[in-house]
Structure formats: structure tokens, C-alpha cells
Amino acid sequence: MIYKFQDLWKRSNITFKVGFIILFIHILIAITGPFWAPYHYAAINVGEPLTGMSWKYPFGVDALGRDIFSRVIHGSWMVISLSILGTSIGLLVGAFTGLFSAYAGGWIDETIQRINEGFISIPFLILGLLIILAAGPDLSGEPLLMSLAVAIVYAPRISRIARSAALEVITKDFVIAARLRGESAISIIRREILPNTYGTLLVEFSVRAGFAPILIGSFGYLGFGIRPPFPEWGSIINDNRMLVYMSPITVIGPAVALSSLVVSLNLFTEGLARLLRTAKREL
């Protein structure tokens, strides 16, 4: 594995490297942050409320006297893990329905595609809000609900991509041979079709994972995110919206955290996709 990584690193491009390094820093902060962040995220009156940038409070202090830098650090692991969890569930469901739809064909395919189309026709942010609303007041604000919303937004879109990737494979000789051998549908999908769509699904996963923090942040910004006082970045920006006139850093801090994460994921993906393309050419 380590050898393979070194090999990958050597052949990779600058986009991949820069993305990987920023992403690595983010993951490092997410894992270790809670241990070295100066204050607890919900600790109030740790500093003079509504003060701007200083050495002690790099991102300023909010209206309740909470240290925004500590809040941003503490929010990191939740944003990253919820994004990855949501995207993974979306990928699993999407890949399964997509591959199954392509394999089954006929009216099953038609029905699944129609339902996917219906989901996709609701703009994604609005679909996410619809799911959060439908979950009801008891569940709203639950972190896992954010992942679920991301998963439901993604699954139909990934399903569509997975289906078209599978359709390219399905007419190949080895799939027909497997069918003639009398293998079961599940086994053909798992052993013949799925391995040939890994590349597409991998790129799809990282593209979607890069957008998931934006989606979760948007829920938070609109006031439908993880329930306070948990410091999800979108909700920190929303909380400090009115402070922007006094000390813009209170908003810029969490904004930089969120956007650098997304930039790194996007760079990483673009690098990865280019790497896969060259790998394919070499084969």
C-alpha cells in the first residue's frame, strides 16, 4: 500500500499534490483539533463579546463571548465526517440502483429512471430542505439528518451516472458470457459490472464529496443545520452575519475554513480524474 502510494505520488500532477496537502491538513485538524483548540466550542464569555481579530482570538469573539477560532476548529471533524458519510450512503444507494436498473432493463429500468428524474427535478438545495422539514421537529437539528439529506440528494444523481457507465459495460462479451454461464444477477453486477465502473464511481464520489460541505453549510446558513450550539461552519457564518460590519474576520474565518476544504477536495478530484485518464491510456 505504501509502495503504491509513493508510486501514485510520483506520477501525480501538481493539482493532485496541492489538493492532497490541503486536504491532509484539514483531516489533521479535524482529528487533533478538539484536543488543542483553546476553548470549548460552547464556552461563553471566554473573551470580550464582539471584539475583532487579536492574537488570543484569531477569528474574533462572537456576541455570546465565544471564541470563533475554537468553534471553527471544533466544527471541522463533524463537517468532514458528515460529508463523507452522506456521500458514501448516496454512492452506495445510487450505485446499486443504477447498476441494477441498467442490468434489469425494461420496465424496471424505466421506473427507476423516472423516479430518479423526479428527484433530480427538485433543485438540490430545496430537496435537502424538504427532507429536513419532512423529518419533523424532533429530528431536525440532528447531525445524521444532514447526512441523510445529502445522501437523498445525491443518490438519484449518482444512480443515473452509474447506470450509463454500466450500460457501456453490459454489452461487452464477458458480461454476455457470464449470463450464458447462468450466473445470478447479483453476482454478475458484483463481479463483472461493478469492477468496470469503479473509475467512474470513484470520480463521482469525490466530486460529490467536494460539494457536500457546501450543501451542509447551506443548511446551516439558512438556519436548518445541526442544532446549536454545535459549531457547524455554515451556522457560524449565519450567527455572525450581522457582525460583518464591525469585524469581518468573524465571518471570513469560517468561510476560509469551508472554502479551503472544498477547494482542496476539488483539486484532489481533478487531479485524480486526470490520473485515472492517464492510467487508462497506459493500459
Binding site: L129, P137, Y221, L222, S259, E270
Partner: protein, 316 residues
């Protein structure tokens, strides 16, 4: 009109999608565990108030019957009454949709030249410094959530250089200059968010087209680089861009919700947020259904346009 059956088929499938969307929206909000009444009243509900509300809303009827009644009423242009303000939903929605259409129209007018000029510049100076720096800028904007772009706009144009008002409140009483001042920042934000996708797509398409043989031919004829680009390459890159524009409308509608919240613009997006906050389900259903039908209609329109413009599709 060889392509008429193709268009009719497309219209039919759009109608089916619309039907599925309406079922999805209604199903999500009305058929999940815990009915509308418990969700509206929340934790303060008592059995009596619940029973009263259920009676009032007609929730004792079976769900499927209520769905078809809802659908039937919509066909007659009646979206029902909002729970919070007790006013007809069409009356509440109409002015908000009007405002949002003006906002999206302005954003769209900015979006077209912004994406075309940027992509043309990038294709013209392919792999030169201008292309590379524009690529990096688009990738960064692409990675910025709309609420952060909007906030940056506020920091720059309200806090640092106080040019525009922070709050874009407009209404029937507003005159042209008030509308103008209110629209500048939200529409620039929306146009930026939309155009980064189109720019990346259009740049790649243009470069791909520039590699083809008829472009080579045009170059051999001695035409200038810009003539080749604008007269020969651009028309062929338009159809894919048309498709990405239709997809972008999804971003536009989602973006409108966020941008209207940032700039407090009195439109459809803020209405949606408020109706979700107050759990005004009939209003939420109507708003989301309209958003989805707008998206479906736009996609239908672009599909029809690409059928008409694409000679290859026409012959089949």
C-alpha cells in the same frame, strides 16, 4: 416538421416527471410518520388540539384521496390557503415570484456575456497565462458556497466601499433606481455562481472544436484566429452549453434561496425559508412544486431547442 414526434414525446415525458415530482413532494410531507397536525403543533400538542386541527385540515380523509384532491385543485389554479396567514397561496406567491423572476432575469443577462467572454478568452489564449489564471479563478469561485460569495460582496461593497445597500428591500412602491440598487449585488452573485460551471464546460468544448478538421480548413483559408473562433467554433460549442445552462437553472433556483436570504430580497426564496420555518405545509408544497416545474420547463425548452438546432437529431 420531421422532429415533431420527438418534441411531443419530450413534452409527454416532462408531464410525467412533473406528476412524479408532485407525488414525491406530497408523499414526503404528508405520508411520513407523524402527520401534518403533529408536525405543525410540535411538542406543545395536546390530543384535543391535534384532533381539532386534523378535523380542520381534513386530515381524516385517506392520504391518496387528499393527494388527488390537491392535484385536482392545482389544475384549476387553486393552491389552497396558507396556514399561517390564512390567505390564498396564489395571492401570496404571485408578487414574490414576480420579484424573483426579475432578479433571475438580471442574473441571466449578466451570466451570458460573463461566461461567453471568459470562455472565449480562455480558448483563444489556450494554456497561456491568461487561460491558466482564469482557470484558477473559476475553480476558486466554484469552490465558494453562494452564501460566502454573497458575504464577500457585502464585505467589499457595503463595509469597505459603501456603494450599495446591504438590504435589498423592494416592492410596488419602489422606483427604478431603488430596484437597480437592490438588484446589483444579488444578481452579480447569482451570475458568478452560475457562470463558473458554464465557463469550464464552454472552454473545453471550444478547445475540442478547435481541434477538428473544418477549423483546420478555415485556418488554411487564411481566416484570422478570432474569426475562426467566433464564426466557426462558437456555434458548434453552443448546444452543449445550452444543456449546461439548463442544468444551471437548478443552481439558479437553489442559489436564489440563499442569495435572497443574504440580501433580504423579498422573493420566492425567502418565502420558502419562512414557510419551512413556520411549517406552513401547503405553502411549502406549492413553492417547491413551482420551483420544480420551472426547472422541468426550462429543461424541456432547452431540449426542444437542441432538437431544432441539431441537424443530426432532425434526420433520425
Amino acid at each position: 416538421m420531421v422532429y415533431l414526434p420527438l418534441i411531443l414525446k419530450r413534452i409527454f415525458s416532462a408531464l410525467i416527471t412533473l406528476l412524479i415530482v408532485s407525488a414525491l413532494i406530497y408523499g414526503f410531507l404528508e405520508m411520513l410518520p407523524g402527520d401534518v397536525a403533529t408536525r405543525m403543533l410540535g411538542r406543545t400538542a395536546t390530543p384535543e388540539t391535534l384532533a381539532n386541527l386534523r378535523e380542520q385540515l381534513g386530515l381524516n380523509e385517506p392520504a391518496l384521496k387528499r393527494y388527488f384532491l390537491w392535484l385536482f385543485n392545482i389544475f384549476q389554479g387553486d393552491f389552497g390557503t396558507a396556514l399561517t396567514s390564512k390567505r390564498p397561496i396564489t395571492e401570496i406567491l404571485a408578487p414574490k415570484i414576480f420579484n424573483t423572476l426579475i432578479l433571475s432575469g438580471c442574473a441571466f443577462i449578466l451570466y451570458l456575456p460573463l461566461s461567453f467572454i471568459t470562455a472565449l478568452l480562455q480558448a483563444y489564449y489556450k494554456n497561456k497565462n491568461i487561460d491558466i489564471s482564469l482557470s484558477i479563478i473559476t475553480l476558486i469561485i466554484l469552490s465558494l458556497p453562494d452564501f460566502i460569495i454573497g458575504t464577500i460582496m457585502i464585505i467589499v461593497f457595503v463595509v469597505v466601499f459603501p456603494i450599495f445597500p446591504a438590504i435589498s428591500l423592494v416592492g410596488e412602491y419602489s422606483d427604478f433606481s431603488e430596484w437597480f440598487m437592490a438588484l446589483v449585488m444579488p444578481s452579480i452573485t447569482l451570475a458568478l455562481v452560475m457562470s463558473v460551471y458554464a465557463v469550464r464546460m464552454l472552454r473545453d468544448n471550444l478547445i475540442e472544436v478547435l481541434d477538428s478538421e473544418y477549423i483546420f480548413m478555415a485556418k488554411l483559408k487564411g481566416l484570422s484566429k478570432s474569426t475562426v473562433l467566433i464564426k466557426h467554433a462558437l456555434p458548434n460549442a453552443i448546444i452543449p452549453t445550452l444543456n449546461i445552462t439548463a442544468l444551471n437553472l437548478g443552481f439558479l433556483i437553489g442559489g436564489v434561496v440563499i442569495v435572497e436570504k443574504i440580501f433580504t430580497f423579498p422573493g420566492f426564496g425567502n418565502l420558502l425559508i419562512d414557510s419551512i420555518k413556520f411549517r406552513d405545509l401547503p405553502l411549502v408544497e406549492a413553492t417547491i412544486l413551482i420551483a420544480a416545474s420551472f426547472y422541468i420547463f426550462a429543461n424541456l425548452l432547452t431540449d426542444i431547442l437542441s432538437i431544432i438546432f441539431n441537424p443530426k437529431l432532425r434526420k433520425q
